[in-house]
Each structure stands twice: as structure tokens, then as C-alpha cells.
Symmetry: C2
Subunit: 293 residues, 2 copies
């Protein structure tokens, strides 16, 4: 983060209907629509990474886009992750999984360090961070935290998401007066407590929508040592300038995720996609770095 | 359901460390541990389906187990689903996905009817039912409901899960007096209302743990037209005999999911795995059918 002077996360969320024209591939010999779409999506992701890596610290891979491709999706996901790593970026696997203990262990193995089986060790995706859904409670989160600690990785728990529907459940007021999301924040703080490092940050972070900056100060109060992943800048309406409380523990306290605002910057400016993306990522990087200290 | 006189869902949750000995494959020429484990897992799933299909109405595929296999996992998932369909069973894709609208559409496409793209139509898994996580609210659920309606499929929303951690969030008491899960139930009822059929059931159901039968009557009160998927019988402690309120709208009102109690029945009885599984599935089928009317 310090080397790049960046807290920007490039969201890789490739919509097969909105790929960069520069990355349109030769699809004549593709075996299926999924193969053709997949190759174009991977080319799009690689071009986005190449254009913006110097302004970013990580990529956030939206797993749904790759799962849509069926069997070829997981291979391309791995290739996109490898391209990001080669560009010096951390990899965030954004799958928002959550399930009972034995199932959570399987998901954690798939996305983090793999799993030992009687058939040999099966490799995982090797992500540096994974997003998880806490609805099912502590025992659904613990296997991810354990697997992440073993792999030297981290977990990002949904606390207050960036979408309008967050009001339906996350914002409900509990009998004790606090909101559901504040209770989720307390769970995040508790899970991370055993692993707060010299930086003051733990390996259990929180997803907090950049669309609700009004909640950030309270979120920081409840989770003093959590890294915040802040999606929703740009297309969803969030502004970097409003995110200062995330950086209270220091510059590593916040990761600002932007997907469409970077990938689709060229639509507004008329510039080439790569140049427009680079400029937008650099604009976000500067704004965030200036904000934090 | 009437043809089979069954409301039993065979949970396919293959743990590579606990596969049936009968299905141990020749792995010498497998390309990788994931391939070897995957072939053994698929053989295990097929044998389980063959042994129990006559006593069941559906399979529930635990997506995490297949994702652990990496690239080969999605192919094997499709093969397990096809084997279940060929045996006359419905397919439930148990992935518990939940995300913002554009992402939810991609997940829904992946698991249900696919998606049209500029590269051609990409096929989905073609599941008959998918499980979803409602933490992020209505706008994260709506794309699944829309895609399911288009595909003639259905959605099963997590409401009160079977695991101990359900107490941490789902059971929290809201300022209005009800529990979080009761609010989730109200959302399920609302989403399903436009599609209540002649059977009295809608295409939006609920996941309610069989481990908390005390909640069933209240759940049925809040969701008169929802099909309940009831996991947690057997290994997690739930008993079929306690599930009567699920069947208030009729026999189709409840689907009882059992994974380990069927697959691992042979460990307790000393019988062959297939015979023990068949006997346990048949025992569950009889108990449930007798309970409902």
C-alpha cells in the first residue's frame, strides 16, 4: 500500500454486454458462447489491470461473473487472479459466502489455501482476502477466519452494504437500540481481536458501503482494528471525499473499491478505455491518499 | 411429490474424506488430486442417487463441495445434477448467494436459466430451486425471483437456519418485538405473493432448520404460501416427527433435507452403504408422509 501510495481496489466485474471494445477477441474458433464470452472477459480484465495497476493496491474479483460462464469460469478466474498478482496486486475474492461449519470450510478451502484430502492436496484460489456473509452467525464465519489465518490471508465480513436494500435487514433497529449492522460490527471486532497486529489492524475486516458515509464514524468506533472495504464509489453514488473516518487507524484502514467508475470512465470522456481507466484510478488514488495520513 | 409419495430431499454434500468405499475409483490416471477426488465424489453422488431416488423427490447439491475442486468442479456439478434429473428428481442448487442487483442477476443466470450475451446464450445449471441469503435485502433477492419465474423454477430464502450460530443474528429481537428471522419471513411472504398458485403455494419458499421445530408454527403463520426447505434432520439433531406445522398447506408445503443421516447410515448399521441409505431414506419418507396429509 505504501509502495503504491494507493488504497484503491480495482473491481473486476466483467459484464459480457459491456466489455471494452479494445479487448474484443477473435471468437471464430471458440467452442461455445461461454468460451467466447470468457475469453473476451479475461482480455477485458487483463487490459483493465494493465491500465490501472500502478494506481491500485488490489483487485476485487466478482465471482458471480465467472460462475455465469459455467465450467470454464473457474479456470478464467484463476487466470485473472494470476494476472493481478503478476502486476503486484492483492486479490480479493468477492463471493459473499456463508454457510454451516462444514460447508464454510469447503468454501474457505476453495477460495483460500485449498484442502488436504485422501486424494492429495487440492489447491485453492489463493486469495488474499475473501468477503463473507454473516447472517448465519459466528459458527459460519469462524471456519473462514481459521483458514485465512493459516493462509496468511484475511476475511471481510458484510456489515452495512452499499445497496438500497441494506435498509430492509441490516438497518433494522434491535430491541437494545442499535441497528442489526452494529451488532454485525461487534461480531467482526470480536473475531478479529486475537489477531490485531503491530499496525493496529486485525485480519478480520468489514464491508461498509461508501454510499453511507454517515455510518462510517460509528462503524470505526465499533471496529477500531478492522480494515474497511468500501464499495459503491462512482456508479453507486459514493464519493471518496466522504470516507475519511475509515482511515482513522491509518492509511491501511480503508480499501476503496471501484468497478464501473473505472472500467466505464471512457464512456463519459471519449478517451480510450485504458487511458480513461488509468486517469480515473489515479484520480481516486490521489483523492484517497490526500484524505488519509 | 405425489407420484413418489415423498417429501425427502437427498442432500449431496460429498466430503472427499468420507466417501462410500464402494465408489472408490481407479485414480491412477487422474490428472490431479482435484480430478481424482472429483471422480470419486461424482461416483459417490451417483451411487447415493441410485440407491435412494425412489424414496426422494429432489436432491440438494451443496455447491461448496464442488467449488473446492476448482475448474473441474462445475463440470462434475452439472453431471451430478443430470444424474439426479435422469432419476426423476428435482434439483436444488444450495449456494446461499446474495449480492447487489447486477451481481444477483449473474448468480441467478449461472444457477437457473443462463443468460443471453453478445456471444450467444450461455446455459445455466438449470436448477429447479436455488437457496439465497437475504441479508442484503429485497433488491438482492428480486433478481433471483425474476429469473426463477422466467425459468419455471423457485427460490428458497434463508429465514431461520439449522446451525447454532443462527442465534447470533437471525434470532435477535427487533425494536418492534419480533425476531430478525420473522422479518425475513415477512419479506419471503411479500416476494411470493404475486405467484401463489392453485396449490396455495408460491415460488418463493423459506429455509427453516429442522433443529428448531418450535419456530415452525410461527413461520407457517407468517408464510402461509411458502414451501419450507427443512435441513438439519439427523446429523444436526432434527426429527421428522416434529415438523408437522410445515405441512399445513398440504404435503407440498415441506421438503425435508437429509445429507449425512442418509449417506452415513451404514456406519451405524453395518449394512452396505447403498442398502443402509435406501432404508434410511425410506424411513424418513414414511415418517414424513404419515405426518402430512
Amino acid at each position: 500500500m505504501a509502495e503504491r501510495e494507493s488504497q484503491i481496489v480495482l473491481g473486476l466485474d466483467p459484464d459480457p454486454r459491456a466489455l471494452w471494445p479494445v479487448s474484443a477477441p477473435a471468437t471464430a474458433d471458440a467452442a461455445s458462447p461461454a468460451d467466447a464470452a470468457g475469453q473476451a472477459m479475461l482480455a477485458h480484465c487483463r487490459a483493465l489491470i494493465d491500465a490501472t495497476a500502478q494506481a491500485c493496491v488490489a483487485v476485487k474479483l466478482q465471482l458471480a461473473r465467472f460462475e455465469l460462464l459455467g465450467a470454464v469460469g473457474r479456470t478464467l478466474l484463476g487466470e485473472a487472479a494470476a494476472h493481478a498478482r503478476n502486476a503486484g496486486l492483492l486479490v480479493i475474492a468477492d463471493g459473499k459466502r456463508g454457510d454451516i461449519d462444514v460447508t464454510a470450510r469447503a468454501y474457505a478451502g476453495a477460495l483460500l489455501g485449498g484442502m488436504q484430502t485422501p486424494f492429495g492436496t487440492i489447491d485453492g484460489l489463493g486469495a488474499d482476502l475473501v468477503t463473507v456473509n454473516p447472517l448465519m452467525g459466528r459458527d459460519s464465519l469462524a471456519p473462514f477466519v481459521t483458514a485465512a489465518r493459516e493462509a496468511g490471508a484475511g476475511v471481510l465480513v458484510l456489515v452495512r452494504t452499499s445497496n438500497p436494500g441494506a435498509e430492509d435487514v441490516e438497518d433494522l433497529q434491535l430491541a437494545g437500540g442499535e441497528a442489526v449492522w452494529e451488532r454485525l460490527a461487534a461480531i467482526v471486532d470480536e473475531l478479529g481481536a486475537p489477531a490485531v497486529g503491530d499496525s493496529g489492524l486485525s485480519d478480520v475486516g468489514a464491508v461498509i458501503g461508501a454510499t453511507v458515509p454517515g455510518h462510517l464514524a460509528r462503524a470505526r468506533e465499533l471496529m477500531a482494528s478492522a480494515t474497511f472495504l468500501l464499495p459503491g464509489v462512482g456508479a453507486q453514488g459514493g464519493r471518496v471525499e466522504d470516507l475519511a473516518p475509515a482511515f482513522a487507524p491509518g492509511r491501511a484502514g480503508g480499501l476503496i473499491a471501484a468497478s464501473r467508475s473505472i472500467a466505464e470512465a471512457y464512456l463519459a470522456t471519449g478517451a480510450q478505455p485504458a487511458a480513461a481507466a488509468r486517469a480515473e484510478a489515479e484520480r481516486l488514488r490521489e483523492a484517497a491518499w490526500a484524505l488519509s495520513s
